[in-house]
């Protein structure tokens, strides 16, 4: 997309909006055990923020910052961390994916133990997947 094709209003609005969308996605992920939301929903919000960025600023500028190999690595690495967390539970003497952290009073942020970590892993993974699908669709269009 050339620079003249882009509307000034769309460009500025998306530039101001994207950080808040990403922040909202991180909020949904990190409060997944306390309020409605969770890893899958927050990950989709993260992915849609990056998609908005690349729709308004152009795919090339976005792919410089969030390059496709990096996102692919994130996608595959998060699954590995998920399985490693499960094996940590096995090593500690509990079941697969068993919680090893102490549980405090329910309702505080760091109480839920593994649930917060698993939400984080799932959220990053889902966001990376959405961005990857979007990138490959765009590359197909440009051929």
């Amino acid at each position: 997309m050339k620079k003249e094709d882009r509307s000034e209003i769309v460009s500025i609005t998306s530039r101001k909006l994207v950080p808040y969308i990403l922040l909202f996605g991180l909020y949904l992920i990190s409060y997944g055990h306390l309020s409605p939301g969770g890893g899958f929903q927050g990950g989709v919000v993260l992915g849609s923020g990056i998609i908005l960025l690349s729709l308004s600023r152009g795919i090339f500028l976005t792919e410089k910052k969030f390059s496709s190999p990096k996102i692919t690595f994130l996608e595959a690495f998060m699954i590995t961390i998920f399985i490693l967390l499960g094996i940590i539970g096995l090593i500690a003497g509990k079941s697969f994916l068993g919680n090893i952290f102490p549980l405090k009073k329910a309702g505080e942020i760091p109480t839920a133990g593994f649930i917060f970590l698993l939400n984080l892993v799932i959220g990053l993974k889902v966001g990376a997947g959405i961005i990857l699908i979007f990138y490959s669709l765009c590359e197909r269009q440009e051929e």
């Binding site: 409605p36 969770g38 595959a76 699954i79 109480t111 839920a112 649930i115 799932i122 993974k125 997947g129």
Partner: protein
């Protein structure tokens, strides 16, 4: 009668037989077994530390299920990316 008609009649008869079996096999008077769900609702907050009951079930009690779900997502994304990037070659 042609082949299609015989096939349709076979499918219809199988559906009717299955319907009769399920109609007579279904017993609405069985006692409901709600032990597991009652336990999740009552004890889930204390055992997993999550207020959100959905989170406490799908990441606490059923985390292994969620692992499979994320692997399904991984396979889906990789197959979509593969098909879109290499579709010209095949």
């Amino acid at each position: 009668m042609n082949k299609e008609g015989i096939k349709n009649i076979l499918i219809l008869s199988i559906l009717i037989v299955l319907g009769i079996i399920f109609f007579y096999g279904f017993n609405p008077n069985l006692p409901l077994k709600l032990t597991v769900s009652n336990h999740y609702v009552a004890e889930g907050k204390g055992e997993t530390g999550a207020i959100n009951i959905v989170s406490s079930i799908y990441l606490g009690y059923r985390a292994f299920d969620t692992l499979g779900e994320t692997i399904v997502l991984l396979v889906t994304v990789s197959s979509i990316v593969f098909l879109l990037n290499h579709a010209r070659k095949y």
